[in-house]
Symmetry: C2
Subunit: 314 residues, 2 copies
């Protein structure tokens, strides 16, 4: 497997999916739809949608090689259906992720001017348009899942349930809120920091992996392995983010660097120092790898993806 080429193919599929599964930019009111597309098309690693595509491929290929499909509850509920296309789900999760970034960048939140090297939505348009574009991308994520998987209502339902749970007040939004509250405290504890990152960062990675599994008809054991992998991937990812914020300049990062230290924000780096943080990131990456290895089939692409992420913080 050529990792870089495979990754590029997945990213290209995501980009074309974003164009296909969003309302056209000239849909009335045009300013709203332009803002939705502006933020979605700002690039980025496309990590979450790539995970959906890769896991769906992995699991469905492995399933097709074994006869025993009895564990796949969804196959029973939609018995005549083929394995569904994972692309709409990949687009849905990128819409959801992008909404969270738009709202997170707003003046009342992080008040950030730069995102992925370009002006943030409220700088490019205005605050109200950015607010509504975020709301619209969040809503579109659910609407797209409902429409694209309409011929497999049980699958559509399972995907929507997973996404709503991961994005809800106990997880993604709860993590954002806890993050804001922690900024006002002099010192957040390691437990508080883990709560924030398990929800603010890991929840959506878990959701991406599990949604890929649901589409590929993973059995319960595999779904649990995917969820565990997402948890460790999320923590690894967040620690790496903290390390990068402390060590890399704004141009390289594509967003304002050094923010955490400037705000005296509690991060893994502040709590544990750079060296220990790098070791922690490495430990969580390894645990994610171990969880992936429980899955059937060739997990080489997922392993290489984790390695390439982990190497950024070195």
């Amino acid at each position: 497997m050529d990792f870089a080429a495979t990754l590029q193919q997945y990213v290209a599929r995501v980009e074309s999916g974003l164009d296909r599964h969003l309302p056209a930019a000239n849909t009335r009111p045009a300013r709203l739809h332009e803002a939705m597309r502006y933020s979605l098309q700002a690039g980025g690693k496309r990590l979450r949608p790539v995970l959906i595509l890769a896991v769906s491929d992995l699991v469905s290929n492995a399933q097709s090689k074994i006869e025993n499909l009895s564990a796949a509850a969804l196959a029973k509920a939609d018995p005549k259906s083929k394995i569904a296309d994972a692309l709409p789900a990949a687009v849905a999760i990128e819409c959801l992720h992008t909404y969270s970034l738009i709202h997170d960048d707003l003046p009342c939140m992080d008040n950030d001017d730069l995102r992925r090297g370009r002006p943030t939505a409220h700088r490019q348009f205005d605050e109200a348009t950015a607010l509504l574009a975020g709301d619209a991308l969040l809503t579109h994520a659910f609407g797209l899942l409902a429409v694209a998987y309409a011929d497999q209502p049980a699958l559509a339902h399972a995907l929507i349930r997973e996404l709503a749970d991961a994005a809800g007040s106990r997880r993604l939004i709860g993590g954002q809120m806890a993050d804001l509250l922690a900024e006002k405290q002099a010192n957040a504890t390691n437990e508080e920091l883990e709560f924030i990152h398990l929800n603010k960062t890991a929840a959506m990675l878990e959701a991406a992996l599990v949604m890929g599994g649901l589409i590929g008809r993973a059995n319960e054991d595999d779904l649990n392995s995917l969820r565990l992998a997402g948890r460790h991937l999320g923590l690894a990812f967040q620690i790496i983010d903290d390390v990068l914020d402390a060590t890399v300049d704004t141009t390289t990062l594509g967003k304002t660097a050094g923010k955490d230290a400037k705000a005296d924000k509690t991060t893994f780096v502040k709590l544990h120092g750079l060296e220990k943080s790098r070791a922690l990131a490495s430990e969580h990456s390894n645990r994610a790898l171990l969880a992936f290895r429980q899955l059937p089939g060739d997990t080489g692409f997922l392993a290489a993806l984790i390695s390439s992420m982990a190497s950024r913080a070195r």
Copy 2:
């Protein structure tokens, strides 16, 4: 039928449902869940959830009296299921409506201090908390539908699709965006005003009626009548709102009155004058009534509900 007593029963059911189907106020992070409950429990007419309950009762009672259920596609998809409880759907639509009010009140939008006679969410808490509480209520609306109707995935799917469509960038959010853009123009046309209100106001009333119909297993004809009724109800409702803003004081209204004239905003009253606006509201109310009369069963409650709404503007 005693209209006031029936209405009171429906509203009481909604209030108890709001308490039951929201995460507890002490759910971590507590500040977020307190803000969600603060905004939801501010009272209000509960029009949308009452419509879901009333239509679901109407349609399911009528269906149980006739033998021919063949048109009910959902009954085929979930053949063994009973008529589902409409209350979770009623709570979901109130969550969605409340999110739209919280975001609409934010400083970058209408910048309103009062809502239903109490401080708006961002005045009671702060802007970031209000933003996130709105996001969380929007997400919860979809999550609640997915969880509460999990044993009838086809119904869950249909409800989510209807709600996502009504709340999306072409309808509710599109109407909000068009409204903001119209405020910056010297003169919006009647066509633009109708676009705004069909989407900002009528979309969610349509969704409430159709969702009630889906739960009660209305056939296609009845769903179309419900959609038509929602359209006219929405226009009537919005024109009445414009009339009230121009004629009633802040205390009576429970929100800042006279805002439209102060902002020189284009409203039905500005375009057509008070008298013509009242006549228009009456015309749309009557058309909604006619559409309701196409439905089987006793539509007396729905008719009385429209009359009581329409009488506010006299």
